[in-house]
């Protein structure tokens, strides 16, 4: 799917630029985009280096395992196929709590660390495991308790009560998260089912290269 979206974005962009008679826009935009990509990564370096350093301390001291143990009912429900004492669970939990508190900068490195730990359990290193998909679903739904950036912007524009969107955000984010978890569960089951269904007689499940 990501292949299709990527190709579609570029091709549709090319066609629009060509039709409007400014094909050269594609060139400038491509290099601008590349520049943005690198500068975002450079911005991430400091955050990743610092927080992954801190998280390593937390892991070496056993703190992550402790947190994982306390909240294990929640994570075993969400991640049934990750062993209960695996370090991935600690990182997943730190990622979730950083998201909840709206500490965007701290949440990403912990999420990446969780992905790396989940990758050690993944039999096929090129394909996302179901546990990874669940973690991604939780992150794209972005469970937020306190939308700090938005509160700051509202204060900036002299809102009479900058925080009155905390309640609505909480409800909307909760609904989106539940929807994400349900959709993830549904896809997970559907995928398992598909992977296990034996090919029907006479019809090869995949087109064969042999004549």
């Amino acid at each position: 799917m990501i292949n299709t979206i990527w190709l579609a974005l570029i091709l549709i962009g090319f066609v629009f630029a060509a039709v409007s008679g400014n094909v050269e826009i594609v060139t400038t935009a491509a290099f601008e985009g590349a520049k943005t990509g690198v500068s975002v990564c450079f911005g991430l370096i400091s955050v990743l280096v610092f927080w992954m350093g801190m998280m390593r301390i937390a892991e070496d001291s056993g703190l992550l395992k402790k947190i994982a143990k306390i909240l294990s009912p929640l994570v075993t429900f969400l991640f049934p196929d990750v062993p209960r004492d695996h370090p991935a669970l600690g990182y997943i939990l730190s990622n979730m709590s950083a998201n909840l508190l709206g500490l965007g900068n701290a949440a990403t490195p912990m999420g990446i660390k969780a992905m790396q730990e989940l990758q050690t359990l993944n039999p096929d290193k090129d394909v996302a495991s179901p546990a990874m998909c669940t973690l991604l679903a939780l992150n794209t739904a972005s469970i937020t308790l306190i939308p700090t950036t938005l509160i700051a912007i509202r204060m900036n524009y002299n809102s009479a009560s900058p925080t009155d969107i905390v309640g609505t955000t909480l409800v909307a984010t909760f609904i989106a998260t539940v929807a994400a978890i349900l959709a993830d569960r549904w896809c997970r089951r559907w995928n398992l089912h598909r992977d296990r269904t034996p090919p029907m007689k006479g019809i090869p499940s995949k087109p064969s290269m042999k004549g």
């Binding site: 990509g37 301390i57 989940l118 992150n139 794209t140 306190i146 938005l150 989106a176 959709a183």
Partner: protein
Amino acid sequence: MLAFINLISSWAIPLIIAFIPLFAFTRKVPVYESFIDGAKEGFDTAVQIIPHLVGMMVAISVFRASGALDFFVGWTGSFLQLLGVPSEIIPLGILRPLTGTGSLAFATDLIREHGPDSMIGRMASTIQGSTDTTLYVLTVYMGAVGIRNGRYALKVGLFSDAVGFIAAIAVCLFFFG
């Protein structure tokens, strides 16, 4: 409420920064060496993400600069307007999964233009707070571990963005309408 939130956001990270090394030190962990080990890994990860992010940003940038994004925003906008969604807010729903800075700029502009306490200002704030830049999140997370096939993750992410967008509008209409 505001004071409490400010208190949390100013204390949370400093407390974490102080607590983790202190806890580890009492467990006899060589804290500095641990930090350096993890930090090295952080650097490698950041470098590994570069190709993924450059690829995605190029595609989005071309799509945006060519006018294609504006076209689709206008087209779906007139469709969703039929369903009673305020037309000013619709571009935000389409921008949100694609670009974090783009959608934040757009939301800020809506808040500035219509006022933070207007219905549109509140909707924009709620949408921005309850959804995430799915394409960026997936690129960074999967790029960091070298996953090529994300299976159904993108579908689920875009679906939850759509649900979050609709829920935000409905909840705002219910609470502030």
